[in-house]
Amino acid sequence: MSSKLINWFRFSSPTTFYPLAGRMSRGFAWAAVVLIAVGLYMSFFVAPTDYKQGEGYRIIFVHVPAAWMSMLIYLVMAGWSFLGLVFNTRLSSMMATALAPTGALFTFIALWTGAFWGKPMWGTWWVWDARLTSELILLFLYIGFIALHSAIEDTRRADRASAILCLVGAVNIPVIHFSVKWWNTLHQGASVSMTSGSSMSAIMLYTMLVMTLGFWAYAIAVALSRVRCIILERERESGWVKKLITENAQ
């Protein structure tokens, strides 16, 4: 137990985390490439045509995983922000900052693919219904987080301010999740539910899960790679970074 605790604190230091993040990032990048390739193959060649929506429904295999990721990344970001505020650990705040652009990217993909799915199925690119609007607010929260962080010169103050914004914004996540239940929306209800199982065929569900795992691996790989950049940028004056860069340059 005690040795476990020591290990955790060891990796909360950027110096020890930097090489570990590099190795993990490479591993997850390979996993992402393989999983997304398999997922795409299943999306187009294995999953059957939907009896109601024809081939158009195949957008689900990128739309739903991206939408899940947009919410999950926000929650993880809020978790790191909380740790950063409570324990004042530099690395936690760096992780939160590293996740924000990837979260914004998945939110954008969810909105974009949603529009291209909505047009043929509902006849409109966009409606101001609860699900769509709360997802758009999520995109603004990500952008606000990034903008606030870069607007404050002192990085430690920027960390704290954006962490508070992130935690306050977390109230939006349950709103997105339950929006299709709480309000009468044009957006269809959940296709996959924790309580009542799935309303779709098994192969479609597996395809979606493979894509989701691929997006997970992608997000982890990219966030770790970005946190390495952030560590270098912030610790550029420290001895270990200088030594590392001189050694690698030769």
Partner: protein, 55 residues
Amino acid sequence: MKSFIEMGGYALYVWPSFGVAALLLALEPLLLRRRRAAVIRRIQRLNRMNETRQQ
């Protein structure tokens, strides 16, 4: 092949969805690679400046 591209008449909706997602997911690692190269160049410059100052 032709019927695959046509996507049962939904080609205009399916391909922009997957295309833009693929484009963005490919772009982000490229941008990160450039950011990393830029910060490494900056640190190397800092190191050189310090060396000349010490001499």
